[in-house]
């Protein structure tokens, strides 16, 4: 059975929020016993998605959850914004796709850094990205 050991919601509005969330996720990953490589991967994924929330989503929140199944520990992060949404998700997941300032590997690349990746988006209503990294 999966239990949520701890959860917290943090704002994602400014660049300072982005830096803070990266640091919080790093601390939680260390606390969950993640290796240095897994810490680096989940913090990098956080940075990509949090920047999307701020820049493309017009700001939002991230919910952090420290997970345990008894034998396994993990981290779940849920990024939510109420921005313009993504009209073509399949296209947005393709490497090299970009709408703005990024390098266009935000979503496809980020998916490779985590264990589970779920994205839902409604044009005009916003975007929700849920990632989970298991130790």
């Amino acid at each position: 059975m999966m239990t949520v050991l701890k959860s917290e919601t943090a704002p994602l509005q400014t660049e300072a929020d982005l830096v803070r969330v990266r640091q919080t996720v790093r601390q939680w990953a260390i606390h969950q016993g993640f290796s240095l490589i897994d810490q680096t991967k989940v913090v990098t994924a956080t940075s990509e998605l949090a920047r999307n929330t701020i820049v493309h989503g017009g700001g939002g929140t991230v919910e952090l959850e420290a997970l345990s199944t008894g034998s396994r520990r993990g981290l779940r992060l849920i990024f939510v914004d109420h921005g313009p949404g993504i009209p073509d998700l399949a296209q947005a997941m393709t490497d090299g796709y970009t709408t703005g300032e990024g390098l266009g590997l935000g979503l496809g690349g980020t998916k490779r850094l985590v264990t589970e990746f779920e994205i839902t988006s409604q044009p005009g209503e916003g975007t929700r990205v849920c990632i989970t990294k298991w130790k």
Partner: protein, 129 residues
């Protein structure tokens, strides 16, 4: 305002990134470094990222931009000291750091810059006729 110091060692500029950079700070560094290359008549730029815990697509793009701008200004850029975990993550993310040369540490980066001046050389380096 917070800034990243740029040191000059003869014709090489040395930048050590030691903070978890805000996006704006990274862009400020890009602008200042480009201006400094011209005023210092620098031939090389050495960026030490050994203290950086992550390189995401934004920082990757800033590093590529710095290298591209430096090249147009006849200077070579070498990024040194990348942590192994950062390198592994970069590759999985799919970031190729286009046009950015890397070296293991500052010493090796400097040796490269000293050995390989920017292609073609400068007009003012040509022997007088």
């Amino acid at each position: 305002m917070e800034r990243i110091p740029i040191l000059q060692m003869e014709d090489v500029l040395l930048v050590t990134i030691q903070v978890d950079m805000h996006d704006k700070l990274a862009l400020t560094l890009q602008d200042e470094l480009t201006a400094y290359i011209v005023t210092a008549r620098a031939r090389g730029v050495l960026i030490d990222i050994s203290a950086l815990e992550i390189v995401d697509s934004f920082i990757g793009r800033v590093l590529s931009n710095i290298a591209a701008m430096a090249r147009v200004l006849d200077a070579e850029t070498v990024v040194v000291g990348m942590q192994p975990a950062v390198a592994i993550t970069l590759v999985e993310l799919g970031l190729s750091l286009t046009g950015v040369r890397t070296a293991l540490n500052v010493e090796k980066g400097l040796a490269f810059l000293r050995a390989a001046p920017a292609q073609g050389g400068r007009h003012d380096d040509r022997p007088q006729v």
